[in-house]
Subunit: 154 residues, 2 copies
Amino acid sequence: MHQQFLQQTIELAVNNVAEGGGPFAAILVKEQQIIAVGVNKVTANHDPTAHAEIQAIRIACQLLKNFELTEYTLYSSCEPCPMCLGAIYWARLAAVYFACGRGDAAQAGFDDTLIYDEIIKPPAQRIIEMRQIQLADAVSPFQAWNKLESKIRY
Amino acid sequence: MHQQFLQQTIELAVNNVAEGGGPFAAILVKEQQIIAVGVNKVTANHDPTAHAEIQAIRIACQLLKNFELTEYTLYSSCEPCPMCLGAIYWARLAAVYFACGRGDAAQAGFDDTLIYDEIIKPPAQRIIEMRQIQLADAVSPFQAWNKLESKIRY
């Protein structure tokens, strides 16, 4: 069953290339039913976050009007990049299965491996300049959040 | 100057809590001009990827009709989570400055630290079931991509 859904992501990814998109696709499934399909739309949508996995998650969340997908399984044509991996945790998916690995993506010119390497470095050692700057009231948003009784936790 | 923009993100984040959103905000700046403001819209938009940084990146990319923001600096009320860090690399931002650290976010109940811990583990050891499944034609999307002369690289 896993192989069948993954096979579909491969076909969707090949088709997406023919349509001018990136070589990635993903499917969200619950109880063997597909709820959402995502293909890479970075260039078409002018959106660097429009990876297949994130597209599938956003589409499913819109359909369900929920910001969590705790009972859904993601099938992806390729191992999720760190951005998509983060999205998978925030969406609290049940499981993720993928066909290609990050090494295959790197060979095709996609920088997933670079980002995996960067993420574990302290901010100051990364290739993009990153720095924490002290502000007296930096935690005031969290203080406001903690005080608010009506908040919707996520 | 960095402090001034960060101070704005703190005020935006406090306001966003009052409006029912999460305690985070971000601003994208080029040559001291703000091009986009993002606030956390996870619950309001039913979108687990609608973090402040990603909102700002998406808004700026829509305005510029570009999937890259190579000359832009991001100011964020908090250290970006791994998902947003990935988005920052894909958008190829010039620099990132932030006020709170990931520890402050964790104290307020946001799982950034958990995701940072998970991302460095091999997929099989993560708390969400993740597994690569071999398929005979798994790399066919990349083969199609490599062959396509008209592709828009990203």
